[in-house]
């Protein structure tokens, strides 16, 4: 019976269906990663620069977002925004919610990375005649990002895992599709969950290997 469950759980149709979910999981992840790396960097730099009022305003909003559960942000974007007339397709809603949350998390990593750079690097550049933008772009950011790669990758691993929360708004990503598959037949539960486990593990373990490789290379 169990063997039969495994065989039919992994029928061609089911596998295709689950892999389609994987494509959505990876799609949400990749788009959110790109957006949150850019937005997170800008917010992190604003916080680091200590611009009067503006930086603390941005910092406060950032802190609020970081301390909310991601699922709540997803619900907010998908269920609350339509109430004020903003209707978003489910994929886009997920990407916006994830990017908002991850930007806030990455901003904190970027701010911390910048703060870890020796003040002498700033003074050397300024005394040398570079303006603030040039100092940041040519001297500070390249050094800061080198240090930030490991924490950024571990944040990205969380992001990939957290896409499964979007099953809460019925985004057809991999975890949600898993639920659909084992809803057909309870003997599919174990094989499907094992398969999801393996796929998530391989994805994120791959990312952590990249992080380790960078760690070694930069040590």
């Amino acid at each position: 019976m169990v063997t039969l469950g495994i065989l039919s759980a992994f029928s061609g149709d089911n596998i295709n269906y689950l892999l389609g979910g994987l494509v959505i999981t990876v799609g949400v992840s990749v788009i959110s990663v790109i957006i949150s790396l850019i937005v997170g960097s800008i917010i992190g730099i604003i916080q680091f620069e200590e611009i009067p009022y503006f930086s603390s305003f941005v910092g406060t909003i950032n802190n609020i977002i970081r301390n909310l559960p991601l699922l709540l942000i997803i619900f907010f974007v998908y269920f609350a925004l339509p109430r004020i007339g903003i209707h978003l397709p489910i994929f886009l809603a997920t990407v916006i919610a994830m990017s908002t949350f991850e930007s806030a998390m990455l901003a904190e990593i970027v701010r911390g990375g910048l703060a870890s750079i020796d003040i002498g690097q700033f003074e050397g550049a300024r005394a040398n005649g570079l303006n603030n933008m040039e100092t940041m772009w040519y001297i500070i950011l390249p050094q800061a990002y080198k240090k930030m790669i490991p924490p950024i990758i571990s944040q990205l691993i969380s992001l990939v895992k957290d896409t499964s929360l979007a099953s809460g708004i019925v985004l057809a990503e991999m975890t949600y599709r898993g639920q659909i598959v084992y809803a057909q037949n309870s003997t599919y539960i174990v094989p499907v969950l094992v398969m999801l486990t393996v796929v998530y593990f391989l994805l994120n373990y791959g990312l952590s290997l990249i992080a380790k490789w960078f760690d070694k290379k930069l040590a």
Partner: protein
């Protein structure tokens, strides 16, 4: 014409009064050494000259620009006033020659071939032509400081500020750095302001010596008269303490 001029300058860090009624004039081409016990405000004073520290009162004119005027573009001053730091502050992510070439490329828009030629000349001048491609982490302290000096010179500045350039160096490294500084001082058009504890360097190179304590300039006299015949009791005490080493 004076290159650097302090008029009744006051500087505070919160409640701490770091510079007290500083009046000082340094002419173009002069080499001035600033000495005094630690905590006397020497580094603070030299760091106000290129705007790394702000002053709260008075007037500070550098190369004709008023540093206390918020409208003054600090980068225009820094183009003409280089600084060499105690801890070198080389760009850790750039090779030695890139450290030298970066600011001329970005700030002066110097032609790349010309930039490289000047950088190589300077590397030869400081005796490190063979280290052009090395990263700062591969250089000794003395080598880093000589690269840092070359980096400042590449901007062809009118004035150079040295903030304890040899204090972080191993004793055997100091000589090479001082030799380079002597060469620069021999160029009569370069204005040099040097904070240092190297009394032999001060004696040999300085036109004038300024002695500071507690944020005040206590003595400002020619090098000869300062070392032979210091008028201030605190300067006399300081010199006798340094001489005992």
């Amino acid at each position: 014409m004076s290159m650097i001029e302090f008029k009744d300058v006051e500087k505070y860090y919160g409640d701490f009064h770091a510079l007290k009624n500083v009046n000082l004039e340094i002419d173009a081409g002069e080499t001035v050494v600033l000495i005094g016990p630690s905590g006397s405000g020497k580094s603070t004073l030299i760091r106000t000259v290129n705007g790394l520290e702000e002053i709260q009162q008075g007037q500070l004119l550098v190369d004709g620009f008023d540093l206390h005027d918020p409208k003054t573009d600090m980068n225009k001053i820094r183009k003409n006033v280089g600084m060499v730091f105690q801890h070198f502050n080389l760009y850790n992510n750039k090779s030695a020659i890139e450290n030298i070439m970066l600011a001329p490329r970005l700030v002066l828009k110097r032609d790349e071939a010309e930039n490289k030629r000047i950088a190589m000349e300077l590397l030869e001048k400081v005796g490190l032509a063979d280290k052009a491609a090395n990263m700062p982490s591969e250089l000794s302290g003395g080598q880093k400081q000589r690269i840092a000096i070359a980096r400042s010179l590449a901007m062809k500045p009118k004035a150079l500020l040295f903030d304890e350039p040899t204090s972080a160096l191993d004793p055997e490294m100091i000589g090479d750095v001082l030799d380079v500084m002597r060469d620069i001082a021999a160029d009569s058009s370069m204005t040099m302001l040097v904070v240092t504890h190297e009394m032999s360097f001060a004696k040999a190179v300085a036109d004038r010596v300024i002695f500071m304590a507690d944020g005040q300039i206590l003595e400002d006299s020619s090098t000869d008269s300062f070392f032979k015949n210091p008028s201030e009791p605190r300067a006399q005490k300081f010199l006798s303490q340094v001489a005992n080493h």
